[in-house]
Symmetry: C2
């Protein structure tokens, strides 16, 4: 095993350090955040920092770095109070990655990368048509984190659109069957193979493998 | 495609709703947070909410729910100012899941589930011996989120221990080769297969698949 201490981390070349530290959290979600500006320009950006914050109310957090691409994303969210999150599946992961290029603000990444915006009546942000699991959120909080200048955005989930084949009777969504990918580091995309669904753990009870359809 | 609106979400049975909403963020990281109390009791708890917060300084966030098991985890972190995060690999995912059982505070989950605590000189929290990628953190912030009573814990990465086979020359860690698993929903574990590492995206340049060793 290799031991890397704090001085080693501090001395690493900046991009290598970013690759290393970005690998440490483990697998990350791959989502496209889609927004619309007040004057009607659609924007879509890949983000690997979405995380579950709570089920009741249904809240999701995401971290936005002010120095990275999704600046239009944040200003659109603040203008409109609404955005969508769309799972990246294996058939669109290259288009999704391409949205991280620094396109000019007047350019819609949808057109440039070959994704389609899909509008739903009553929701002011576009969805990604190709995505098989997507949901709209209303903005709840924009929280700058003083420790490093990143911004925590919290939204409440309002409207879910999911391919019915993935939705199980107990509420679980088989995102593997929908082709959702995972990210590692800054640039690696992975599909998945289920090991098992496991029963709720109790102190003196052995775990049981659940059926996917349980 | 099935449309689930806000009223549908509100009316769902509570556990089904938790399973649905927990599936929406996409794949989640699987980590064991290990701590030690002031009086020397080791504690280890699985957590799927770790997320990358920044590379310089090297920061990681995690969300702790006060009503779920890792309460000892939080009080130990606050007492000692130090904790470790240890990747869950396919060979220990069942033991890792079992740490979520509600053991009494005086019980060490290490003993109960069959994981081994590993001490490193100068670090006041134990590592999980079986984990092939693990790191220690110093506590930086404990931030209660008023919106739902969850707690955001932010730590700075101090010391990294990684199986050398996974560490690439450019800093990327091949966590797939190390067997790190991903989580979906509340209870599903997945191993991964790489689709590709992709080049840095630029507006007028086609993406290139990178070598894993690039």
């Amino acid at each position: 095993m290799k031991h890397i201490n704090f001085a080693d981390i501090e001395q690493m070349e900046q991009r290598n350090r970013a690759r290393l530290i970005n690998s440490l959290s483990g697998f990350k979600s791959a989502n496209l955040v889609a927004t619309c500006s007040e004057d009607g320009r659609n924007n879509v950006a890949i983000i690997s920092s979405c995380f579950h914050l709570g089920a009741s109310p249904a809240l999701m957090g995401m971290v936005i770095r002010p120095d990275s691409v999704p600046r239009d994303t944040l200003s659109n969210i603040e203008q409109m109070g609404c955005y969508t999150i769309n799972h990246v599946s294996a058939n669109i992961y290259r288009q999704a990655h391409q949205t991280s290029a620094r396109y000019a603000p007047e350019v819609s990444e949808f057109d440039k990368v070959g994704l389609s915006a899909e509008l739903v009546a009553g929701i002011e942000a576009p969805f990604v048509a190709q995505s098989l699991l997507k949901f709209s959120l209303d903005l709840r909080e924009v929280m700058p984190l003083a420790i490093n200048g990143t911004i925590l955005v919290i939204g409440e989930i309002k409207h879910i659109i999911v391919d019915e084949s993935g939705l199980k009777a107990d509420g679980y969504v088989d995102i593997e069957a929908l082709g959702t990918v995972a990210v590692s580091g800054l640039d690696s995309y992975h599909h998945t193979q289920r090991l098992a669904r496991l029963s709720y753990a109790k102190p003196d009870k052995a775990l049981v493998t659940l059926s996917i359809d349980s």
